[in-house]
Symmetry: C2
Subunit: 199 residues, 2 copies
Amino acid sequence: MAQPKKRPRGETRRRILRLAAEWLQQRGYHGFSFGQIAEALEIQSSAVHYHFPAKPDLVAAVFAGYREDFAWWCEQQAKSREGALAQIGHFLDLEARNLDDERVCPLGVAGVEYASLPAEACAEAEALRDDLAAWLSRRLETGRERGELAFDGAAMDQAQLIMAAAQGALQLARLHGQADFRAVRRALLTGLRHPTVQA
Amino acid sequence: MAQPKKRPRGETRRRILRLAAEWLQQRGYHGFSFGQIAEALEIQSSAVHYHFPAKPDLVAAVFAGYREDFAWWCEQQAKSREGALAQIGHFLDLEARNLDDERVCPLGVAGVEYASLPAEACAEAEALRDDLAAWLSRRLETGRERGELAFDGAAMDQAQLIMAAAQGALQLARLHGQADFRAVRRALLTGLRHPTVQA
DNA sequence: GTCTATAACGTGATAGAC
DNA sequence: GTCTATCACGTTATAGAC
């Protein structure tokens, strides 16, 4: 029988998280199993259970990872000191990266499967939603104050429109093609650039 | 689709379809089973298999039902002879009905679980997407021609924005509350009403 | 940290009686 | 059209060896 492969500390855990994130965004929570992860990584399913006692633990960790990644991205973004419209464009580009390997936004997964998702995963997803909403509405608010952006209504309404549209567009892109996402990106940014009417 | 036009008058069949549609939109494709449907309807799981040989058949039939319902809705809508903005508002209200029992848009389910969904279901979902996109872009196009609506870019881009935003907003509403959907509805319609700038 | 082995269960699906 | 009975399989999860 094959000897266990020695791997650097924490390497297996990272590989599990990485694959689980990919499949979660491609197939949904119920669309992959510990056994499939084990097979793909050429380890035993009980090795997966060692790192993550149960599936809710694994998926909650995946969502927590999304939050870490987004926090890191925000830090990098803050350094660039770009305008609000450019930053929001970069946010849409961040979402667009999911198109490369046919993923959807993790919030979409949580939203669709909400009623069949473990509570831990829901809680992390809600926190991620709050992170995104806070970042977006802040950019929109200051962008409007500085006259860079024009839109009617509350900044938070606009932030939710952007989140919802990006997430929905990634899903529609799978049904009809990546052009659908670009169409939505175009429509969103055009709407923001649009100067308010002088009455 | 496997099932021809002729629909058996069976009450059981209708009850199965109704419950499957509800659960599909609440839990996703993998979030419910024949056994659970049988239990809820107090029949045997093999009775479900009688009406729908396999799960893909059932779910494809559910999607086909969505298309029929939407076609019927379009007919009713055509009779009203309302303006484009009002009609698009009604479309968003149609989506908003899903909030009542915490469902999401079926296209969201298909988009999220695409990689783990049977091909029959994907095909029906794509057809439904085309139905919605065609109806919306037509309203947008004629609305703009008549000066009722104002937006930049292609009508189809705008149609995709509306579809994506509505679908994403239903999902976000589950994570944070129904107000999120209303915020998106507001932002969308405000954007359309916004008069183009006179340069 | 990974393995073997296995438990306990739910799943989609089928055959055939009534 | 619905039932009983059953199947093979995949699933999550645990115990204990190395």
